[in-house]
């Protein structure tokens, strides 16, 4: 059926794929350790499910690499509309978890539409930006904002999914900065921000939910109440710090299985890894991520067209933000925002959509030559 181009196999980006698979396997190992029962008892099945999702994700990745990413540009609007429909569907069909509606269920499977939406959004944004010639004018900035950002942002805030909504905003800002703004727009934005500066803090603060506010307070002053809101931060730092230079050893960590560390196999998985593998292991893992990011940036640089370049950058920004914010939060230098560590945190939808994204990156890199 599929005609496999020889150039695809020849230029395929095995390096990116290997790094991602290594990180994902480290993730599964760490999930296994974090969710093991403290004494004899049944082991929870998180690590098995994650393995299954990894296999599915790799297959999906190859499927995505098999067709030219230019098709994504052509179908970007439909993909985007489909993403929006999914987000809306959450409101009517979604199930709640931890005070927020983020999940859609299909029989035994449940998934988070916002994970897929991010990709659809990046594709849409890249396509819209790629058709602009030169720098962005005020009109086109407004059009872009209204068309791509405002509606989903409002939906995500309403869910509420603060993490994803902020990511969407951040990607938007980074991409328009890379694309370049017209001088008039820059002047206008500076004036607007200066005027609204006194109010912006209050508006943001009032818009936050109580648990979000307390997280911010806890980030600034975790000692205020070590058992309450500061608990996550305190325990995360203990978990990381107690690993010392060489770590406690695999399956020797205690903070996760003994439940001192909350969200041990999801948002705080890096802490569990750092506890068991120490400073040495952590540096190696962080280097893998850094290498992945630099490689993705290189892919953007080498992309054969504007759309590919912006798409690769959008995906890179997404991974980078996730990575730095998550690790920063685990190390206590960022507020606790509920966002996972890409490829490591437990979560099927996130792993699948991240592998989609990697598939797109590989696709762009593989087809970087104007040969057809």
């Amino acid at each position: 059926m599929l005609r496999v181009d020889r150039r695809i196999t020849k230029n395929f980006d095995w390096i990116t794929l290997s790094i991602v698979i290594v990180i994902a396997l480290i993730g599964i190992m760490t999930i296994y350790s974090a969710t093991r029962p403290p004494i004899e008892g049944e082991h929870s099945r998180f690590y098995l499910r994650q393995t299954l999702w990894l296999i599915i994700g790799i297959i999906a990745l190859f499927l995505i690499v098999s067709f030219d990413y230019v098709w994504l540009s052509r179908f970007s609007l439909y993909i985007y509309i489909f993403g929006i429909i999914l987000l809306i569907a959450v409101f009517f069909l979604g199930k709640a978890g931890m005070g927020a509606k983020r999940w859609l269920s299909f029989g035994p499977l449940s998934f988070q539409p916002s994970e897929f939406f991010k990709l659809a959004y990046i594709i849409m944004l890249a396509q819209q930006l790629s058709i602009i010639n030169g720098t962005i004018t005020t009109i086109s900035l407004l059009r872009l904002f209204l068309l791509t950002v405002l509606f989903p942002f409002a939906l995500l805030i309403k869910e509420p999914d603060l993490g994803t909504s902020l990511i969407i905003l951040a990607i938007f800002v980074s991409l328009i900065l890379v694309k370049g703004l017209h001088k008039k727009v820059v002047t206008l934005l500076v004036i607007i921000s200066l005027v609204s500066l006194p109010f912006i803090g209050t508006i943001l603060w009032e818009g936050l939910k109580d648990y979000q506010k307390s997280r911010l307070v806890a980030f600034i002053e975790p000692q205020i109440d070590p058992t309450g809101i500061g608990y996550h931060i305190t325990q995360s730092k203990i978990t990381v710090g107690s690993g010392k230079f060489i770590g406690k050893g695999y399956l020797k960590g205690t903070q996760g299985p003994f439940r001192f560390l909350p969200e041990k196999h999801t948002d705080f998985i890096f802490a569990v890894f750092a506890e068991e593998w120490g400073f040495i292991g952590s540096i190696i893992l962080l280097l893998l991520y850094l290498f992945l990011i630099l490689r993705a940036l290189d892919t953007a640089r080498k992309a054969k067209d504007e759309f590919g370049r912006l798409l690769a950058l959008g995906i890179t920004f997404m991974f980078s933000i996730y990575f730095f914010v998550n690790v920063g939060m685990t190390l206590g230098i960022m507020p606790v925002v509920g966002i996972p560590l890409p490829f490591m945190s437990y979560g099927g939808t996130a792993l699948l959509s991240n592998l989609f994204a990697i598939g797109i990156l590989i696709n762009i890199r593989t087809r970087r030559f104007y040969l057809f």
Partner: protein, 585 residues
């Protein structure tokens, strides 16, 4: 306008910079503060529970337990794990006010793993209620502790003593390094004296717990080692009878076994309830005890010294017989007093005793007779004999800091007062007044030496301990026979001053003493209490083969024969009766 490649290069540098920031932070957490966090993760997970060692039991000489160990439950919280918003509901469960809980937390909360005891002595219902709702109160734990219960309360409290927390100086003392900082150790009396033996070794349980405080597994357990039991030489029955006889009066009693120096009883009144100290005395109770005008914390048996009054005539008589200045037949005519220079030295009986020999002089406690004897002896001879009977120095009972008492002589007067010795002072000393001062325990040791043929033993609290002889009184057996006969007469002869100690059950010998507080000699009963004389009585029994020797002192008690003698009799009966019963059984 930058080229696309340059822009991407800038982004790459940003990524590398952010990466380096993470590494610096990692280095800070794992290398710089690593040890600290490792410790926190251990304390998170490991809980060390001290298992208190049951303290050794203290028995009296007949095997009657004087103390009990009773365990009780306490509700404590682990500071860092406790959720402060739960104070209200916890207050209802424990029946402790919210303010009190906050106060305790604020006072003791230091490290996140500090244990703060909120309530002691939980009822069984409270324990089961809390255990079943453990998850509602994270950080709340039930501890078991053992406290000391003093079965007899105030009885013998100066002797048994009490427990207390380590004092700040003890906390720094390497000798107490093995003692857990919260533990109670002996701080007074026998509890303190034999603390090392009684204490035992605490055990330890190291358990792993999860974040909810549930036990995961036991990692290590060391069973506590119970402290050694000790059997005292004290007879609780004697103690009981003696303290009952004292009633509300202030004073002391020391009873020893003449043949060994074992302490049979030791009373100091007023006393205190050691149970107050057992679980930690509170501030108000402590103030009430220490500021009591009668000073219940003073051990009067060892720490109060007063002129021994006529009980000292025993020493004067022995010295005179030994030095040959008199014979038992030497007679003196008592007309109720003698004049020396400008001064008049009266006899307690204004009308005089008439012509008396040594025996009657002791029995009726004639002062004029002993003025004459004193004159013949001279102060320095009296001094020598008094010292050989253990006066003027510590007896060596290691209970509290003992006072030495005072036996004056010419040298002492010269050194301290820069004055020569006057004969009138010899008169006073010969009848136990003036400078001379003794403690009740010294008088008991002296009486014991009279009863046992002149051996001075170091007093001990341990039953059947090897007797330690610290001195030999300068006295021959013949002399002691004469004196003992006279002392028996004090109690049993008609006209004897110690008639009130006469017992229907056994023969008692003794000597009364009345120490003057003010020079006016009036009938003591009409004086305000603080001007009344101090009453003394020393005794031994049975006269033929003494099993017990004792000294009784009643502060401001009035006449020794009236105030102190009946107490001595009750104590002796309490002891000898009891030991007879024991033999029957």
């Amino acid at each position: 306008m930058k080229s696309e490649s340059e822009k991407i290069l800038t982004i790459s540098y940003l990524a590398i910079a952010a990466f380096l920031l993470l590494i610096i932070r990692l280095w800070q957490l794992q290398i710089v503060q690593g040890n600290e966090y490792r410790k926190s993760s251990e304390t998170n997970r490991l809980r060390v529970i001290t298992l208190p060692a049951p303290r050794g039991i203290i028995f009296d000489r007949n095997g009657v337990p004087l103390v009990k160990n009773s365990s009780y439950y306490c509700a404590s919280i682990i500071y860092g794990e406790f959720d402060r918003s739960k104070v209200d509901s916890l207050s209802k469960v424990l029946h402790v006010t919210v303010e009190k809980i906050h106060e305790k937390i604020n006072k003791n909360g230091m490290g996140p793993f500090t244990l703060i005891r909120l309530k002691q002595g939980l009822s069984f219902n409270e324990v089961t209620y809390i255990e079943s709702r453990r998850s509602d109160f994270p950080g709340l734990i039930i501890e078991v502790d053992v406290s000391r219960e003093y079965t007899y309360g105030n009885l013998g409290s100066h002797l048994i003593g009490y427990l207390g927390k380590l004092t700040p100086s003890q906390l720094r003392d390497p000798a107490f390094r093995d003692v857990p900082p919260q533990a109670f150790i002996g701080q007074w009396g026998v509890e303190m004296l034999f603390d090392k033996k009684l204490r035992g070794n605490p055990g330890e349980r190291i358990i792993e717990v999860d974040a909810l405080g549930r036990e995961i597994r036991l990692l290590q357990e060391k069973q506590p080692m119970k402290g050694e039991d000790i059997t005292l030489s004290v007879d609780i029955n004697l103690q009981k009878e003696a303290e009952k006889a004292f009633g509300e009066r202030t004073g002391a009693l020391v009873a020893v076994k003449p043949k060994t120096g074992e302490i049979l009883g030791l009373v100091s009144k007023p006393s205190f309830d050691p149970n107050l100290f057992a679980r930690g005395i509170n501030y108000h109770e402590w103030i009430a005890i220490t500021q009591d005008k009668k000073n219940p914390m003073l051990n009067r048996a060892l720490q109060s010294q007063y002129p021994p009054g006529s009980t000292f005539k025993i020493i004067t008589a022995i010295a005179a017989l030994e030095e040959g200045v008199i014979t038992p037949e030497t007679k003196v005519n008592c007309r109720g007093g003698i004049n020396y220079g400008r001064w008049h030295f009266g006899c307690w009986r204004k009308n005089g005793h008439g012509v008396v020999s040594l025996h009657r002089a002791i029995v009726e406690s004639c002062d004029v007779y002993f003025y004459e004897v004193g004159r013949r002896l001279g102060i320095d001879k009296i001094y020598d004999y008094a010292l050989s009977f253990g006066m003027g120095k510590e007896t060596g009972l290691e209970l509290v800091k003992e006072r030495r008492g005072l036996i004056p002589n010419t040298k002492w007067k010269q050194e301290k007062k820069k004055l020569p010795w006057f004969l009138g002072e010899t008169f006073n000393t010969a009848i136990g007044q003036g400078y001379v001062a003794t403690t009740p325990i010294q008088m008991a040791v002296m009486t014991s030496a009279v009863a046992n043929g002149g051996n001075i033993y170091k007093p001990t609290f341990i039953k059947d301990a090897n007797p330690v002889i610290t001195g030999k009184a300068k006295v021959r057996p013949e002399t002691l026979e004469i004196v003992k006969k006279a002392l028996s007469g004090v109690v049993n002869d008609p006209g004897g001053t110690g008639w009130a100690a006469k017992s229907q059950l056994m023969s008692i010998g003794g000597k009364t003493g009345t120490a003057q507080v003010v020079a006016i000699k009036k009938d003591s009963h009409y004086l305000p209490e603080k001007f009344r004389d101090h009453a003394w009585f020393v005794a031994f029994a049975p006269v033929e083969n003494p099993e017990i020797a004792l000294a009784v002192f009643v502060e401001h008690g009035g006449h020794g024969g009236v105030a102190a003698a009946p107490i001595a009799m009750k104590a002796i009966e309490g002891y000898l009766n009891n030991s007879k019963l024991e033999k029957h059984n």
